[in-house]
């Protein structure tokens, strides 16, 4: 455990996407993904075109491709599901090589793969170009309830701290020749989780006391508000406009 906790997706950079204000980027991302999901099931060519758009956005971030590909791993369980779909779905059958499969299943499988890949690529483009602090500022700017933003801010702030604590506990277990192999190792893992909870909770209490003594009244001041020009909003919504065009074209046809 702990592995991956310290590895934020964020990569420093100077590309157009990096420079966009985070709230404009976030709104653009959500609009784009919603439009892609709203495409009807058999609009495969529109989906493929939007996959290219997402690919182009990823390329324009100039983040090393290796970094992006390693994130696509999160998709694997659903690729498996998509591959199984044609065989378990019902409806009219069709022949695909040596197999007889469900036509609806194949359609849904292609749609799922294209949609999920497109949106994972866009989400990766957002995550690699936005620091966790900018995400917090963006959500604050977009008027998310203050307490939710604060919880999120504390979470991203202490992710690394608790993560390295978990890592130290893992080193302590490993150096006592612990290996998580069988059911017998569960009590050890569970008591580690218990200790991690107590340590996290007590750290939370200490942080709270420290903040109280520095004049915290339950609100965090906005020191450095985000601002976006009309041009920023326009650039951030280019993919969303393309998606809207694709959606209109599909419904017009």
């Amino acid at each position: 455990m702990g592995a991956g906790l310290g590895i934020h997706l964020h990569v420093e950079g100077e590309s157009v996407v990096h420079k966009l204000p985070a709230h404009a980027k976030l709104v653009g991302l959500v609009t784009f993904v919603l439009l892609v999901v709203a495409l009807p099931r058999d609009a495969h060519s529109a989906r493929a075109a939007l996959l290219l758009v997402a690919g182009a956005v990823v390329v324009s971030t100039r983040v090393p491709l290796r970094h992006v590909v390693s994130r696509l791993v999160v998709e694997v369980p659903f690729v498996v599901f998509a591959l199984v779909l044609p065989f378990v779905a019902t409806g009219p059958a069709m022949r695909l090589g040596p197999f007889t499969v469900s036509r609806d299943g194949v359609e849904a499988s292609i749609a799922l793969l294209l949609t999920a890949t497109t949106s994972v690529l866009m989400a990766v483009a957002f995550a690699t170009t936005t620091s966790s602090r900018d995400l917090v500022r963006a959500l604050q700017h977009l008027r998310l309830p203050d307490r939710l933003v604060q919880i999120l801010a504390f979470m991203v702030r202490y992710l690394g701290v608790v993560g390295s604590q978990a890592q130290r506990m893992k080193v302590a277990r490993d150096s006592r020749a612990f290996r998580a192999r069988s059911l017998g190792s569960w009590p050890v893992i569970a008591s580690s989780a218990g200790a991690l909870f107590i340590r996290s909770y007590e750290r939370g209490e200490r942080v709270h006391l420290a903040m109280m003594s520095r004049g915290y009244t339950g609100r965090m001041p906005v020191t450095d508000p985000l601002s976006a020009t009309g041009r920023d909003w326009a650039v951030a919504h280019v993919p969303a406009v393309l998606a809207l065009a694709a959606l209109t074209a599909v419904y017009a046809a």
């Binding site: 999901v37 994130r71 999160v74 949609t115 999120l152 978990a166 569970a190 996290s200 939370g204």
Partner: protein, 230 residues
């Protein structure tokens, strides 16, 4: 377990998003009672804990491993309203900073894991606790374990219901229910055992931190000893 984009159709995604917003808004107003003004720092660190606990893999055998959902565990430890907020924040961070779980499916994921996952586990836990009131705090870990076990197939069942409403491919519903619930009952065994053991180890050291054990811990009166035995 995180639902990606495009798995459910747009109306279903929006519908679950509306449910999620309602649930989280209610939790925001109620969590204050559980944690008073310490809400933000404490809930933030509990969210980090849930995030870390989800990375904690336990070996299932044959080279595969499972990971914790943590909904019931968080509910028993800090109370259901705070747990709802913590899970919501964890899911939002996973979607936005780690590209894990779909953006348009965030409402679906929050409904599944932060609402159903937390509340199914919590309600089962409260029900069992009422039955076993006389047994004291010793049974709390076992009750939490059973509740965690039950919550996983319940989440799977909710997901199946969502799929029946807004799924993109026609799969015979009976088969899907059997496969999902059967498979997740197995995962639930892992979730239940880890929850049982983790709550047990916390009750042994800091029973005052376990929200679900409040009122069950034996009161120990302050003892003032004037004479020091030689």
């Amino acid at each position: 377990m995180h639902v990606p984009d495009g798995f459910l159709d747009a109306p279903t995604s929006l519908g679950t998003a509306v449910i999620a917003v309602g649930g989280v808004a209610l939790a925001l107003s109620r969590a204050r009672r559980e944690l008073d003004d310490r809400t933000a720092p404490l809930a933030g660190l509990v969210a980090v804990f849930v995030f870390a606990a989800q990375m904690l893999n336990f070996p299932v055998g044959a080279g595969t491993s499972g990971h914790l959902l943590g909904g019931t565990l968080a509910a028993v430890l800090v109370g259901p309203w705070t747990a709802t907020l913590c899970l919501t924040v964890v899911l939002a961070v996973q979607a936005l900073l780690f590209a894990d779980g779909g953006i348009s499916a965030l409402g679906t994921n929050i409904t599944l894991m932060a609402l159903v996952g937390v509340w199914a586990g919590w309600l089962v836990f409260v029900g069992l606790r009422r039955l076993a009131r006389s047994a004291g705090s010793k049974v709390v870990p076992a009750l939490a374990g059973v509740a965690a076990f039950a919550s996983v197939p319940l989440v799977a069942l909710t997901f199946t219901a969502m799929y029946a409403v807004g799924g993109r491919a026609p799969i015979p519903l009976g088969d899907l229910v059997t496969a999902m619930v059967g498979w997740h009952a197995l995962i639930g065994v892992g979730e239940g055992l880890i929850t049982l053991l983790a709550v047990g180890s916390i009750i042994a050291t800091r029973p005052d931190l376990v929200h679900g054990a409040r009122g069950l811990i034996e009161r120990r009166d302050l003892e003032i000893r004037t004479e020091v035995p030689a």
